[in-house]
C-alpha cells in the first residue's frame, strides 16, 4: 500500500536542528566568538562586506559564524538583512585622495610622491605553512612610524597633467542604484561599476584573467593600488552642511592601459577602475581590468567577441547570490515537469516503434 | 513609372573619413543594379545604409511600399522598417553564416520568413520549403539537415532560398559569390540569373567581380573612395569605360 510522503515540515525542523549542531562542531573545543572572527579572519569579513554590499564588520563576522565559514552563504545572509534596512539618505562621494593609506603601490613608476607603502600584504611572503601558528601566542610587534597626513596624490593624475592619460569626465548626476531599480541594458558605466564591486570575487577574477590571456586584451599596468581608511560624510539638511559619520576601509585600483590612439586623437593611455569595501585588493585589481574591457565601445575599440567585453554577459552572471540560488534550485522537486517529459519521451518512442512495425509489415 | 527605390544624396561618414558621399540613383521594378569598386570604395557601406542596417548621416532612401507608395525608409518607424526587411526586402550576405541560422534545419531556415508573416500550417510550410530547396538545387532529402553539414555553395544557395521564399520585391546582395570556388561561383551565378529572370526580381548587387555584374546587372555604378565615378548600362560601362578608374578596373580584369 502506498502512502504519500508527508512530514516535510518535521523534516525541515529536524534538518535545522542538526545544522545548528554541526555548525557548533565538537563542543569540547571552545566556541568561536564573533569578535575573534572579525579580528582574525578579517579578509573573509572584508569579502562578505564587499559582496554583501553592507559595511559592518560585526554583522559580517556573525554571518560567517552562522554560515559555518561558507562565505557565499554569509554574503547571502547579509544581503537578505540589508533588504530590511531603511535607507536614511546617501553619503557624499568619498574622497580617496584623502585616504589614510595602509598600503599604496604603483607598478608604473619606481617611486612616486607620497612614496610606495607595502603595508600588510601576503605579496612577498613565502607560502610555507607556519606550524608555529598551531601554538598560540602573540606575533612580534611590527615597527611603527608616524602616520602620513594630508592628501596622497594619485599616480594617474601625474599622467593626466601631461595629457598622457584620458581624462574622465566629471559628473554631478545621481548615479543609478541597482538595488532600487531593475537592471536594464545597456547599463552604462556607473551601473557596471556597482555590479562589479558587489560581484563574485572568483567570477570577476576569472573574467579579468581571461583578458590577460587574450580574450579582449587591454594591456593593463597597476597605475596605483591603495588601501586605507576614508571618511564618510553625509549632508544633514537640518545643519546645512556635511558632517563626518564614520570611516570605511576601501581598496582602490586604477589601471593604466595602452591605447593606440585614432586618426582624430593622439595616442593616450586609458584607465580601468576598481573600488571595493575593505582590504580586497585581488578584487579591486580584477574589477579594474574588467571595467576597462567593458569600455571597448566608448573608447572606439573593436568588439573581439570576448566574454569580458560583453556587458550583458558579465553583469548578468557576476552576482553569486543570484547564481548560487538558481544553480541550487535544481535540487528542489521538479517531478511535475519531469513527469511531462517522461510522457513525451514515451510517446515519441511509441510512435517510432509503431512506425518501425509498420515498415517491417510492408 | 514610379521607381521601386529612389536614393537621394546618401552620405555616411566614419569620423572624418568618407564612407560614401552624395549617392543618388533610381531603381525601377525588374531592374538589377550592380555596384562595383575595389574594397574600401564604399559600396558595402552604401548597401548597408540602403538596407537599413545602419543610418546614413544624410540623404533619403524612398521605397515604393505596397500600401502607401514611396516612403523614406530612413525616417520610417523601426517596426515598419523591420516589417519591410522580412517581407518585401531580402538581404543576401557574402558569408552564409551571417544570413542563416546555423543550428536550425534547412527547412526551418527557409520556413522562418513564412512563419514570421503568420504561416501556421506545418504541412504547407514544409511543402513550400521543399519546393524552394528544389529551386536552388538542394535535394529534398536534405530538408532536415543543418546548414553546418552543407558545402559553402549549398549554404549560399540555401541563404538565397531563405530570402526569396516570401517573394520579396527588392533583394540586396553583398558579394554573393565571394569566398566560393570558381566552378561553384559559375553554378550559383547561373542559378541567380535564372531566378532573377523567372521572378522578375529587382536587385542591388555589390561586388568587386566584374563577371558577376556582366552576367546579372542591367545597370552599373562604379564607386571609388566613397563617390560614384561612373554609371550607365552595364555593357556600355564595361565595353566603353569613360572614367580613368573604370578603365583601370576593366583593364585589370582583362589582364587576369
Amino acid at each position: 500500500m502506498y502512502v504519500a510522503v508527508k512530514g516535510g515540515e518535521r523534516a525541515i525542523d529536524n534538518a535545522h536542528t542538526w545544522l545548528a549542531e554541526e555548525r557548533r562542531g565538537d563542543t569540547s573545543v571552545a566556541e568561536l566568538s564573533v569578535a575573534q572572527i572579525r579580528e582574525q579572519l578579517s579578509l573573509a569579513v572584508n569579502r562578505v562586506m564587499a559582496e554583501g554590499s553592507l559595511y559592518d564588520p560585526d554583522l559580517a563576522a556573525l554571518a560567517i559564524k552562522q554560515a559555518r565559514g561558507d562565505l557565499i552563504e554569509a554574503i547571502f545572509l547579509i544581503r537578505a538583512y540589508r533588504t530590511t534596512l531603511p535607507r536614511l539618505g546617501h553619503a557624499e562621494p568619498v574622497d580617496t585622495g584623502k585616504m589614510a593609506c595602509d598600503r599604496r603601490i604603483s607598478a608604473t613608476f619606481k617611486d612616486v610622491p607620497g612614496g610606495q607603502v607595502l603595508g600588510p600584504t601576503f605579496d612577498y611572503t613565502h607560502r610555507l605553512l607556519d606550524f608555529a601558528l598551531e601554538a598560540e601566542g602573540l606575533p612580534p610587534a611590527a615597527e611603527t612610524s608616524e602616520a602620513q597626513t594630508g592628501d596622497t596624490p594619485r599616480v594617474t593624475e601625474f599622467l593626466n597633467k601631461g595629457g598622457l592619460i584620458q581624462s574622465e569626465a566629471r559628473s554631478d548626476a545621481t548615479p543609478p542604484d541597482m538595488t532600487h531599480a531593475p537592471m536594464q541594458y545597456p547599463a552604462g558605466r556607473p551601473l557596471r561599476l556597482q555590479a562589479l564591486t558587489r560581484g563574485d570575487e572568483g567570477f570577476v577574477l576569472s573574467m579579468a584573467y581571461s583578458t590577460q590571456r587574450g580574450y579582449g586584451r587591454n594591456h593593463p599596468f597597476v597605475g596605483e593600488l591603495r588601501i586605507g581608511k576614508v571618511a564618510v560624510e553625509m549632508d544633514i539638511p537640518e545643519l546645512g552642511f556635511a558632517i563626518e559619520i564614520g570611516e570605511v576601509t576601501l581598496s582602490e585600483c586604477e589601471t593604466v592601459n595602452q591605447f593606440a590612439g585614432s586618426r582624430t586623437e593622439p595616442a593616450q593611455f586609458t584607465r580601468g577602475y576598481g573600488l571595493v569595501f575593505g582590504q580586497t585588493e585581488r578584487k579591486a585589481i580584477s574589477m579594474a581590468l574588467v571595467d576597462r574591457a567593458l569600455r571597448w565601445e566608448e573608447l572606439g575599440e573593436d568588439n573581439l567577441g570576448a566574454p569580458a567585453q560583453d556587458e550583458e554577459f558579465v553583469l548578468a552572471h557576476s552576482d553569486n547570490i543570484q547564481a548560487t540560488g538558481f544553480l541550487e534550485h535544481i535540487k528542489l522537486p521538479h517531478y511535475v515537469d519531469f513527469q511531462s517529459e517522461l510522457e513525451l519521451v514515451r510517446k515519441i518512442r511509441r510512435d517510432a516503434a509503431e512506425a518501425a512495425m509498420q515498415e517491417a509489415a510492408e | 513609372m514610379t521607381p521601386l527605390l529612389s536614393v537621394k544624396n546618401v552620405t555616411k561618414m566614419y569620423g572624418d573619413r568618407i564612407g560614401c558621399a552624395d549617392v543618388s540613383f533610381d531603381l525601377y521594378p525588374g531592374e538589377v543594379m550592380g555596384i562595383v569598386g575595389e574594397s574600401g570604395s564604399g559600396k558595402s557601406t552604401l548597401l548597408a545604409a540602403l538596407a537599413g542596417h545602419h543610418a546614413p548621416d544624410r540623404g533619403e532612401v524612398h521605397f515604393d511600399t505596397r500600401a502607401e507608395g514611396l516612403r523614406d525608409t530612413l525616417t520610417m518607424r523601426e517596426p515598419e522598417r523591420r516589417m519591410l526587411a522580412r517581407t518585401d526586402w531580402a538581404f543576401v550576405h557574402q558569408n552564409p553564416r551571417d544570413g542563416l541560422r546555423m543550428s536550425v534545419s534547412a527547412g526551418g531556415n527557409v520556413g522562418e520568413r513564412l512563419m514570421a508573416v503568420g504561416a501556421r500550417n506545418y504541412g504547407d510550410i514544409r511543402d513550400t520549403a521543399t519546393d524552394w530547396l528544389g529551386r536552388v538545387e538542394i535535394n529534398a532529402d536534405r530538408i532536415d539537415d543543418r546548414p553546418r553539414a552543407f558545402s559553402g555553395g549549398m549554404q549560399q544557395r540555401l541563404q538565397i532560398a531563405r530570402n526569396l521564399v516570401t517573394g520579396p520585391r527588392l533583394v540586396f546582395m553583398d558579394e554573393p559569390t565571394g569566398g566560393l570556388d570558381v566552378s561553384v561561383q559559375a553554378r550559383l551565378l547561373d542559378l541567380l540569373r535564372g531566378l532573377v529572370r523567372e521572378m522578375g526580381l529587382s536587385a542591388i548587387i555589390v561586388t568587386h567581380d566584374l563577371a558577376v555584374v556582366r552576367l546579372l546587372a542591367d545597370r552599373l555604378m562604379v564607386m571609388k573612395s566613397g563617390h560614384v565615378v561612373e554609371s550607365g548600362l552595364t555593357d556600355q560601362v564595361l565595353d566603353d569605360p569613360q572614367h580613368g578608374y573604370t578603365q583601370l578596373l576593366v583593364s585589370s580584369v582583362l589582364q587576369v
Partner: protein
C-alpha cells in the same frame, strides 16, 4: 514567536518587506495587469530565501497579502513538499496570516509548477513562482534583443522552434513551460507548469507571475484569452499520463508517477494533493486505495 535563529516576528515589517518596497511591487503589478503578458521590470529585493526558490512569488505574495487573507502554498501541486512548507512558514512568521491546504478556502495561492485542479474564483489570486520569465530566452539570450522582439511582435523564431521539434520528433517537444500568446499580443512563458495546465490559464482568478532573480513581474487578468502556440495541422495537445489516479480514481487530473517497488512497479496519483484528498473524502476510490488494496 521566535525561530531557531532567535529572530522574532516583530523584527520585521508585516510580510517582511517594508511598505515602500511593497508599493513599488504593487505599481509593477498594476502595470502588469494593464498590459496582459508583458514583462514589467521591477527592482526585486534580496529575500531571505535563495534566488530560484520562489523569491519572485514571495515578493508578489508579500505585496498582495493583508492580515485578513488566507494563504496556501503548493509546490508540484502538493502542500507538503519541503519548499512549500518553507514558504508557508515564512509568511506564518512574518505576516501571521491564516494558512490553509484547501484550495477553496484560500484567498491567495502561491504555486510552483502547477495550477490547482479545482476551478478558482474571482475572489482568489494565484501567484506563480517563475524561474525564467522570457519565453524567447533560449532562442535569443540577449535581453536587449528579446525586448525588441516583444515590442515589434517578432515571434517568427518561436514557431521556428516548434517547426524544428516536429521535423525532428514528429511532435512539438515542449511538455512544460509551454509558450502562450496572451490576448493576441504578447508571447508569454506560463512558468514551468505542465502543458496539461495550459487550458486552465483562462480563468476567473487573477494570475500574477513573479521572477525575482530576473526582476520581472507579469500578469493574466481574469477571463483573458490565452492561446497555446501551435500549428493548424499539429494542434496543441494538453496530454497527461493515460491512467486514472490510483488513490481517488480521477481520470481528469494531472498525475505523478510513483515508483513503488524494486521490480519497476508504478502507480499514478494526483499531483494536486488537496484535490485528491477531497475526492477520497467524498468516497472516490482508486485501484490502490487502502480499502481496495486489502
Amino acid at each position: 514567536m521566535t525561530d531557531q535563529t532567535g529572530a522574532t516576528t516583530s523584527d520585521y515589517n508585516f510580510a517582511y518587506l517594508d511598505e515602500q518596497t511593497k508599493r513599488m511591487i504593487r505599481r509593477a503589478l498594476l502595470k502588469a495587469v494593464a498590459i496582459p503578458g508583458y514583462q514589467v521590470p521591477f527592482a526585486s529585493r534580496e529575500m531571505p530565501m535563495p534566488y530560484g526558490w520562489g523569491t519572485g512569488g514571495v515578493q508578489v505574495s508579500a505585496a498582495c497579502l493583508t492580515p485578513d487573507d488566507t494563504f496556501k502554498v503548493i509546490d508540484q501541486g502538493a502542500d507538503d513538499t519541503t519548499n512549500a512548507v518553507s514558504i508557508r512558514k515564512f509568511f506564518e512568521k512574518t505576516a501571521d496570516v491564516e494558512t490553509t491546504e484547501h484550495t477553496q478556502d484560500a484567498t491567495i495561492i502561491q504555486t510552483r509548477h502547477r495550477i490547482p485542479e479545482a476551478p478558482l474564483t474571482e475572489d482568489q489570486i494565484l501567484v506563480y513562482q517563475v524561474p525564467i520569465p522570457e519565453p524567447l530566452r533560449f532562442l535569443e539570450p540577449r535581453e536587449t534583443e528579446t525586448r525588441k522582439m516583444h515590442a515589434l511582435e517578432e515571434y517568427g523564431l518561436m514557431h521556428v522552434k516548434l517547426y524544428e521539434d516536429i521535423a525532428r520528433h514528429g511532435h512539438i517537444a515542449t511538455s512544460y513551460a509551454y509558450p502562450v500568446k496572451v490576448e493576441g499580443r504578447y508571447v508569454m512563458d506560463p512558468s514551468p507548469i505542465p502543458k496539461f495546465d495550459n487550458p486552465k490559464l483562462e480563468m476567473a482568478a487573477i494570475q500574477l507571475f513573479g521572477a525575482g532573480r530576473e526582476q520581472r513581474i507579469y500578469a493574466i487578468p481574469p477571463y483573458t484569452q490565452v492561446v497555446s502556440l501551435d500549428f493548424e495541422d499539429h494542434p496543441f495537445d494538453p496530454s497527461k499520463a493515460d491512467a486514472p489516479c490510483d488513490l481517488c480514481g480521477a481520470d481528469h487530473t494531472y498525475l505523478d508517477e510513483v515508483i513503488i517497488d524494486d521490480a519497476g512497479g508504478r502507480m499514478f496519483v494526483c499531483s494536486d494533493t488537496d484535490y485528491c484528498a477531497g475526492r477520497q473524502a467524498q468516497g472516490h476510490r482508486g485501484r490502490l486505495s487502502p480499502e481496495a488494496a486489502e
